[in-house]
């Protein structure tokens, strides 16, 4: 199961739970799992099946480039971060 770290600003939906183990082979499956446990979280994470503007997903330290289709491994660590660009 992947370990999903809940951003502090979403913990109003998770009763302050900081991280959870979720089963899923893609980010979409992880998102569904999260929504099932913590209703409302899917809306924060994204819209229309994509990841919300300004949010980036880090899977094992790499920024996912395939959006909700990003593969997730059984031991993966997932973080939700602000999206960054560069100069």
């Amino acid at each position: 199961m992947a370990t999903v770290f809940i951003p502090t600003q979403w913990r109003d939906l998770t009763a302050d739970v900081e991280s959870v183990e979720i089963e899923g082979a893609t980010l979409r499956e992880i998102a569904r799992g999260l929504e099932a446990r913590f209703p409302g979280i899917a809306e924060r994470l994204g819209d229309d099946g994509g990841i919300a503007a300004g949010v980036a997903v880090s899977i094992d330290g790499a920024i996912a480039s395939r959006g909700m289709l990003a593969p997730v491994g059984p031991q993966s660590e997932i973080h939700f971060l602000p999206a960054i660009g560069g100069g």
């Binding site: 600003q9 924060r44 503007a53 480039s65 602000p82 660009g85 560069g86 100069g87």
Partner: protein, 751 residues
Amino acid sequence: MAQAESHPRKYKVIGTRPVRHDGADKVTGRAIYGADLRLNGMVHGKILRSPHAHAVIKSIDTSAAAKLPGVVAVTTSADFPDLQDKIADLGEGAVNLAHLGANVLAHGKALYKGHAVAAVAATSPHVAQEALSLIKVEYEPLPAVTWVLDAMKDDAPLLHDDVYTKSMGKKADKPSNIAAHIHFEKGDVEDAFAGSDLVVEREFKTASVHQGYIEPHVSTALWNQDGHLTIWTSTQGSFTARQQTAELLQVPISQVTVVPCEIGGGFGGKIAVYLEPVAAMLSRKCGRPVKMVMSRDEVFEATGPTPGSSMRVKIGATKDGKLTAGEAWLAYDAGAFPGGVIGPGCMCVFSCYEFPAARVDGYDVLDNKPKTQAYRAPGATQAAFACESVIDELAEKLGIDPIEFRLKNAAKEGTRRVDGPVYPRVGFIETLEAAKASDHWKSPLEGKNRGRGIASGYWFNIGLKSSAAANVNPDGTVSLLEGSTDIGGTRTSVAMQLAETLGITAEAVHPKVVDTDSVGYTDVTGGSRVTFATGLAAYEVGRDILRQMCERAAILWECDAAEVESVDGEFKTKDKRMTFAELAGKLSQTGGPVVGRATVNPEGPTNGFGTHIVDVEVDPDTAKVTVLRYTAIQDAGKAIHPSYVEGQMQGGAVQGIGWALNEEYVFDGEGRMANASYLDYRMPTALDVPHIDTIIVEVPNPAHPYGVRGVGETPIVPPPAAMAVAVYHATGVRMQELPMSPPKLWAAMQK
């Protein structure tokens, strides 16, 4: 075929210093930059800009301007499609198209002095300029706000009534100038501070600064009678320029070709479009190519800058010098539209160190400045100024050498950052060790009113998408097509990686930056990504070519392709060998040309750390700071072309020195920029800086076949903090404000 060796021990091309491929054109004046383009029938566009920092635009009357002889087209935002609430993913990040469009030409409200209001095209730039004075705009001025903390107040003038504070996807219930709130937390912060032997908390502020590229923004558009739009422009990303323009005009992306011209500097400021859609609209109206060039004051007043900031940083440590806890509160202005660089600011503020517990709050704040843009390690320099200043003060109070203090707490492989992810192999410790061993650090600084400072900094390398293709020529050379616009020599650093992969010389690769119809999608030149990601694409192109060439050799030798090996520019089997050039000359006999291609989207994180040392002397009477000696140390992973790596380090350091000492946006009482010229903006001249010594540390990036880490951005991060520490040791004053310009430093020294 045999696997190409992914980590050759000895490189033939990488690490050498060939003359750049575009060099001769650039030293003879032949290179074609955006403003050098001339097309038949070309006319010239100019933009009318708001004289007010904040005003309702009640009406715009362009009739008199349209009648001026020589004027061929006039436009305002009324000519553009309505783009309410559309979000476009631009690769480097998403953008609200209504905001982007309203920045290009104001919709109903002018939000900063210099905001574009209308545009004219005419047969000469002088006529276009005259026509602007005939456009009548009725404004209702509103109170303006240009300081981030003022803009956050409840009673501040509100810039937009449809912007609500967003917190990681969560939206507030009333409009606010605070467009976003970011929060990270790791561990029990209160507990950790309580267990600290020493806590230092300081407040900092920094002024807005501009990227300062010497070439003003320029674009030429031709909306042809067949409906196809071609744009020649100076941009960090031709594909993102194409997408932004297509979205703003609501035309299919296939209808737009962006031809990147040579670009005269960008540093993050030439990613967003300004002129492209306007030139396109004017061209559609007059049926001729329209060229638009900004003047220098327009560049200052309507593009860039990077945020001004207010910051509070609190850090705790134990007596023996272990960091216990950190807390940062960062407010950065976004300018007139949401989406500043607070995100990376928050991610970078504590990124050099291992913090058992820490909390970061960040705010993206609207105010009446041009929409802020990325500037070299966007958001990180301000944050490092605050964090590194506190780190230095802690080290001093604990009586620990500042390098030793950093070494005790340095981020390393396995360190969990405050924002969550864990570092892979990084080279921060190596930069500190190199600093400690440097001649600069070991040489005592003597003399009155002098001080030495040291500071470190961090920046990501973003990966993103890069494509490339290459044709093998019969003479054994290879033509490389790429989509990364070349701002600082990347044609060469990318070509060198292809040359290394193929085992040929750097000169045998002919790189070309081509238009959006001629190469696969490639993201912006930014985020320290080109040598890393487009270089990776070139490597993959090389592998593709080698695979095909092995097959061709097998045809010639009438053997199985698996028996052919390619090593160091030669193809061989047990008993036969042929050079790359020999085989290239025989391709037509074996089925025709070989074209290699690749597209990559590396996700692997790369991270660049740097440590800078500076000696200054402060005139005790005037408070003027003179930089005596400077050394920049950085982990480059593997320096492909060391001269250009050094160049990035030197250029970034000097930009950082400018940020530290004199550069700033000065606003008058009405929120208008008072120093919109190079004369009064005061970027460093050759006479203001010493030679910048460089030490390149190489801790190979495990996520790149040649170990590359991008180097472009990190070098601007440490300088302001290092300068502030040096000024402290020279004067006894810890400056918590940028710039540390003479009047400000003098006032502080009087206290």
